[in-house]
């Protein structure tokens, strides 16, 4: 088994909570803080911490606005975030592919 793809996995994404956030955002143009929190069943504090980490890595952008007189926080993937997530998926697929028995 070649462990090289495993070693190349992005450590920022390769954490359960952050992988969940990246997966959700990869399938949507943007998601609100509430939608992410409810879908991933995270606490406010936990989600805030993970989003901050992803923001610092340049993978997620956060927009704050007002709607119906309430503050609304929306998150979306940056171009770098989409690229990093695509690489992460490719590496996982590589690991799965390598493990399949080669045809004789």
């Amino acid at each position: 088994m070649n462990l090289e793809p495993l070693l190349r996995l992005d450590r920022v994404i390769h954490e359960k909570g952050r992988m969940g956030i990246m997966s959700m955002l990869a399938a949507s143009a943007d998601l609100s803080f509430t939608e992410l929190r409810d879908a991933l069943e995270m606490t406010d504090g936990n989600l805030t911490t993970h989003i901050r980490t992803l923001q610092e890595a340049g993978y997620v952008s956060v927009t704050k606005s007002f709607q119906n007189h309430r503050r609304l926080t929306t998150c979306s993937l940056t171009r770098a975030g989409r690229r990093a997530f695509a690489n992460y998926i490719n590496l996982l697929e590589e690991v799965v592919r390598q493990s399949k028995p080669k045809p004789p």
């Binding site: 992988m19 997966s23 504090g45 309430r70 609304l72 493990s99």
Partner: protein, 217 residues
Amino acid sequence: MESNWAAEHLQAIRTLMERSALYRRALAPVMTANGVLGALAAAIGLMARVEAPRAFLGYWMAVALAAVAGSFLLARRQALKDAEPFWSPPTRRVAQALAPSLFFGFVLGLLLAALEPALRPGAGAALGLFWLPLVWIALYGCALHAAGFFMPRGMKIFGWALVLASSLLGAIGAFGFLEEWIRPPLFGHSLMGLVFGLAHLAYGIYLYFTERRGNEP
């Protein structure tokens, strides 16, 4: 061992991406616009005395087509505004879930309109102005329930509510309770206006106030 772990990760990612891709586009405007259309159509139908079964069927099928076309236009408008593709995977899934029940309801309307002259006058009126609206509502409820698997949770509840209301009214009608009130054509237009008008309007207003609530931690 590593491959199992990687496969599990990929599966988790796929599940999360599917969950994230729920259809949310223009739900409040679509519900509100359809509510206004349904309520207006019922009022016009009652005032213009659209009472013959065939006229009633044709009238409400035309309203339904207008509602479907209007919904597509509203969803397309929001997609253009947000610079997103209109025929996105969530939109496709919702359309596919809605299609069978709506199609069957439309075919049923056409068949009844075609067969109505051959029926006894009382039977035609009862089928066209009482039973078919109930079946339409139940089918519409089934369509919303099916689409609800790709939409926010409230849609499935709305679908179930329509199916239950239709069943209850059917039972009341079948056993002859409230005969004075449940009488075509007043019942047909009133029921269509109540369900396709006021219920949609109420749900649309609810969505306006609950979608994207303030969400600061």
